[in-house]
C-alpha cells in the first residue's frame, strides 16, 4: 500500500527561526513528490520534485528529494508569521493512480 508520512505533525517556532519539514514515502512506480502550503481556504502548490539531489528554491523556501532514501525535506529560513500554515506532501506514481497525501505538518510561527 502506498503511503506518505510527514513529520513532525505540528511545530511551533519563533520568527526568524529556520525549520525543516520531513516527508518520507513508500510508493510503487514513483513519478514525483509535491509540496503544498495550506492556509485559509485551500492548499497552494509550492514545489514538484522528480529528480534526486536537485534543490528547488522559491524565496525563503527550498526543497530537495532523495529517491534512494525515499524522502524529501522542505526548509524555510528566517520564518515569518505568514509562514504559519499546514504543509502537505504528496506523492505521484505513474499509471492511473491519484496522488497520495501525507497528513501534513502544522507550522505555527509566533512573533
Amino acid at each position: 500500500e502506498d503511503k506518505v508520512v510527514q513529520s513532525p505533525l505540528s511545530l511551533v517556532v519563533h520568527e526568524g527561526d529556520t525549520v525543516t519539514l520531513n516527508c518520507s514515502y513508500e510508493v510503487t512506480n514513483f513519478r514525483s513528490l509535491l509540496w503544498y502550503k495550506q492556509e485559509k481556504k485551500a492548499p497552494t502548490f509550492l514545489f514538484m520534485l522528480t529528480s534526486s539531489g536537485i534543490e528547488k528554491k522559491s524565496g525563503r523556501l527550498s526543497s530537495i528529494l532523495d529517491k534512494k532514501e525515499l524522502f524529501s525535506i522542505l526548509n524555510i529560513t528566517a520564518t515569518q508569521t505568514g509562514d504559519s500554515a499546514i504543509y502537505l506532501c504528496a506523492v505521484e506514481a505513474s499509471g492511473n493512480t491519484p496522488l497520495v497525501f501525507g497528513k501534513g505538518t502544522r507550522l505555527s510561527v509566533i512573533a
Partner: protein, 112 residues
C-alpha cells in the same frame, strides 16, 4: 468512517457529453472542495462550499457546476465536456476552514 468517497474512479467522455462526479463525506465536515490536478501542476480549486446550501467559485470554475443540498454530498457537474477538462479531480473536506483537508482518492477523467 469511510472519510471522503469519490465515484467513479475513472471515466472517459466524448466531447459534449455531460456527467456528474460524486463526492460524499461522513465526517460531518462543513467545508468541501473540488480540485483538479493537471499533469505536472499543483491542485487548482474549482468550487468550494462552506456548508449546506452555500457554494462559491474557486480559481477555475468555468465549465463546472456544483450543488450542496446536504452536508454530506458535494457533486460536481460537467455539462459540455471539453478536452481541456481532461484531468484528475479531487474532492476534499475539512471541519474548519483552517483544518487539514481530507481528500478523496480522485477521479481520473479523459475527454476525447
Amino acid at each position: 468512517n469511510a472519510g471522503v468517497t469519490q465515484t467513479p474512479k475513472f471515466r472517459i467522455l466524448k466531447i459534449g457529453q455531460s456527467m456528474t462526479l460524486q463526492c460524499t463525506q461522513d465526517m460531518n465536515h462543513n467545508y468541501m472542495y473540488w480540485y483538479r490536478q493537471d499533469p505536472g501542476m499543483g491542485l487548482k480549486l474549482i468550487y468550494y462550499s462552506v456548508g449546506a446550501g452555500i457554494t462559491d467559485k474557486g480559481e477555475v470554475p468555468n465549465g463546472y457546476n456544483v450543488s450542496r443540498s446536504t452536508t454530506e454530498d458535494f457533486p460536481l457537474r460537467l455539462e459540455l465536456a471539453a478536452p481541456s477538462q481532461t484531468s484528475v479531480y479531487f474532492c476534499a473536506s475539512s471541519y474548519f476552514v483552517d483544518s487539514p483537508l481530507h481528500f478523496g482518492n480522485g477521479t481520473r477523467l479523459t475527454v476525447t
